[in-house]
Symmetry: C2
Subunit: 490 residues, 2 copies
């Protein structure tokens, strides 16, 4: 064999005997017990999928996508039973990927999520972009909705729902994708320390509270790079890195595992959604003093065909500007920018440093000033006080709740995609038409994505107006307005 390893399959570890330094394992089937001695032991039990304690959760039409067996069972059911309606419970990565594939197979698909947003690693206004996309793809999305039971009836299953989109929902199959929990039973029974997050506690060499027992993977507690808080990352990339560190330490090397960015990507139909570092919810919970910017730059040179806008939210420390997190969503080029943010966050760069990064440019791949550079530029303006901003989600919609809204897009843009109550003065006319603006009110300025409104704010501030930029412009407003049902997708 390649590595000269002894591999025991169909063998379940049932106890760790720390004093004797042995593991008791049960041969399957049969259940014959044996003890295996160890000098160093590595625990990599992973996680187990959450299965809710509701009636009907164990029906044969209810599936989990946690292992090969579950996947094969679902595939077999799809092929043999030709179901027409799928209900997915839980709006995380697995649920979204499953919903996309059910739709691709022609199934009428519902996605039921207990909380007010899908993909909890994102902030609600960014998750809204994904939610609007799901609705556009005809997914029956039911947020703030709970499943209390699944019944088998003549003609299929009926899910009993309560909450915002309650009632009875008919389906031919149900997929449970309600997340995972660290599998810590063996470790806990052996008296190893379990952290507040529910994961096995380790040091930076991946040693548990017993120095001869290491742990790696989804069962382990991580420390967040941006917040310093313990949490469960449960990400494949980290599992591999932890395993390498544990192996290196067992072999006498000095490698360490550090804090975790929890970088993640998910494909949601035509969109790629990526998150790196902390989101705003986590920063708030950790009590950190942060600032943020939204922008919607083009994924490549505007004149090169096939580009599309990216939606970027960048979070950074107020004052120092240290990058704390980023969320990037778009049809192409989102994962690239997220990876650059990840490398920058890991390196301790500030948001201002992003403006200086020298990224590769040719029109098929980027603009000469990359979206990452733009994010750095806008953040730098915020950090130096050159740009005051406000956020759509802080203002009652529509119309910004009594705010004086100035739209500096062209007249055609304004007419084609209006925001109620906004005054339109195109940027190129602004210097001549300041007489139409109030001197005694804060002027909230927006354009399509935020560049023209920034220029407008600078010009207005120089002329003595109290001007504030609506971060992310119409593009950011649109997603919130769609989510709230104020406007309809065209």
């Amino acid at each position: 064999g390649r590595f000269n390893l002894t591999v025991l399959v169909n063998t379940e570890a049932v106890a760790i005997n720390r004093k004797q330094k042995t593991v008791t394992a049960k041969k399957l089937p049969g259940g014959e017990l044996s003890d295996y001695p160890y000098d160093k032991l590595l625990l990599a039990p992973g996680s187990c999928a959450v299965r809710p304690s509701i009636a009907g959760a164990d029906l044969p039409e209810v599936f989990l996508l946690k292992d090969v067996g579950g996947t094969a069972a679902l595939k077999n059911f799809l092929n043999s039973q030709k179901p027409e309606r799928a209900a997915v419970i839980g709006g995380g990565s697995i649920g979204l990927e499953a919903a996309e594939n059910f739709c691709a197979l022609g199934l009428k698909t519902a996605l039921i999520e207990a909380s007010g947003q899908i993909m909890p690693a994102f902030d609600p206004e960014m998750a809204a972009i994904l939610q609007n996309h799901l609705r556009q793809k005809k997914v029956d999305l039911r947020l703030n909705t709970l499943v209390s039971g699944i019944e088998k009836k003549r003609g299929g299953l009926v899910l009993r729902l309560s909450g915002e989109k309650g009632g009875g929902l008919k389906a031919d199959l149900v997929l449970l994708s309600m997340g995972v929990r660290p599998e810590t039973s063996l470790a806990a029974a052996a008296g190893l320390k379990i952290g507040k997050s529910g994961g096995i506690k380790t040091n930076r060499f991946m040693q548990t509270s017993d120095k001869d027992i290491y742990a790696a993977g989804d069962a382990v507690e991580s420390i967040h790079a941006a917040t310093g808080r313990p949490f469960i990352a449960a990400l494949a990339g980290n599992a591999g890195k932890q395993a390498r560190v544990a192996a290196a330490h067992i072999a006498g090397e000095k490698k360490t595992f550090g804090r975790v960015l929890a970088s993640a990507a998910v494909k949601v139909f035509d969109l790629t959604a990526c998150v790196v570092g902390a989101n705003e919810k986590e920063l708030k919970a950790a009590g950190l003093n942060y600032d943020k910017v939204y922008l919607h730059p083009a994924s490549r040179a505007a004149y090169y065909p096939g580009g599309s806008p990216l939606s970027i939210k960048l979070l950074f420390a107020a004052g120092s500007g240290k990058i704390l997190g980023a969320q990037v969503i778009g049809k192409s080029g989102a994962d690239k920018r997220a990876d650059v943010f990840a490398a920058a966050l890991k390196s301790g760069l500030t948001a201002c440093d992003l403006g200086e990064l020298e990224l590769v440019y040719a029109p098929p791949y980027a603009s000469a000033r990359d979206p990452v550079n733009y994010a750095g530029d806008v953040a730098a303006q915020v950090l130096t006080g050159g740009l005051r901003q406000a956020f759509w989600q802080d203002a009652p919609l529509p119309g910004g709740g009594g705010r004086f809204l100035l739209d500096v897009r062209t007249a055609a843009e304004h007419a084609g995609a209006p925001i109620n109550g906004a005054l339109n003065i195109p940027l190129h006319e602004l210097r001549e038409r300041t007489g139409e603006l109030p001197k005694d009110k804060t002027i909230y300025v927006f354009c399509h994505s935020g560049l023209r409104s920034y220029i407008a704010c600078r010009a207005l501030t120089q002329k003595g107006f109290d001007a504030v930029n609506m971060s992310g412009g119409y593009m950011s407003w649109r997603e919130i307005a769609l989510e709230q049902g104020l406007i309809k997708e065209r």
Copy 2:
């Protein structure tokens, strides 16, 4: 107007009068001269395209792609004259992009390059990948070939070629893409300091040798981030960054422009080729002590459809491991990895740090261990002495010039894509078949891309053999062998 600027078009600056602090400019057409006063002056003259002093270079069928006029003239010629054969002189980005587009229009296309490789920012063995791809796309590639003249004959042009692929070459149009030179005539005439590289010398605020005159863009000399040497970068991204720094300094801000990575990307038919930092030629010329690794990881999870291998060359300082440069070529995902290398290089990370980067992962975008992580892993093995390597381009081909070559691929891989003279022992049989290997010779081990051969080297070294890994494996050998005509594209 948006910025309230006075813009003088059709006005050519002809002299800078530094004492009077005025610029003399000529109105076009007419030639009327006027003096314009300045407090601070910014020079952004850009570069001019090289036009060789050969007979026929000014024929109407000979084009330059430097400005809108040249592009429009070429497009008009293509539409009106329906040429069938194009000759491109010069194998830089412009030449390659033009060749691709000529082919897409159905023209028989030749690319003539005076040196032994195209794309001088790459090292020859990496440029070979692009050269093999051009030949596969039926481009008549003529390296080490010079054009001594272009003649207009009945039935089209004839190019007189000398060198490796000399003779007469028929064409209906010629594109000159022999690079650019900094446009420094105005600056030089005004007595401003010009650097060794031929560009205008500036400090980090973009001030020239006259503190009231700034310069930015292709006309300016840059200092290379990896080698510390002056050079001309002539890249759009840097031009913009320099202009911002100059403008900030004129406005009293403290921004500075630093050393330059010269990050660049070019699309060559189906391939994306990216370079960041120094190449090996530059490191050699600068006398730096470096090391390097080659690898060919998959652009995304192997089981997810549509992925393709990347070819990565990573250069780093011997000893410290500081990243010095990277070259990445592939069908997809090359620009993403190059951008991560660029961010890492800018942040002063070491090659080992690359293994720790937490990049976003989902199967459509990457593997759980990203190609950038793999590059870090291999470099770390080199830096810690865990991996000794040799390089195909250092060994006379085929067969590695008397080296004892061990192929640890499967028997089917070995038979399907052999390297002459290599002994095949598949990795999974190696531990049982070491009796077939010499104890008194260095064993040069290779596999498809370098992972299995690394494992083999570790196992052989543990058993007392003198084993060396052929960096990049068969994939790297193949490109050199194709380039040298030892094997044919299938």
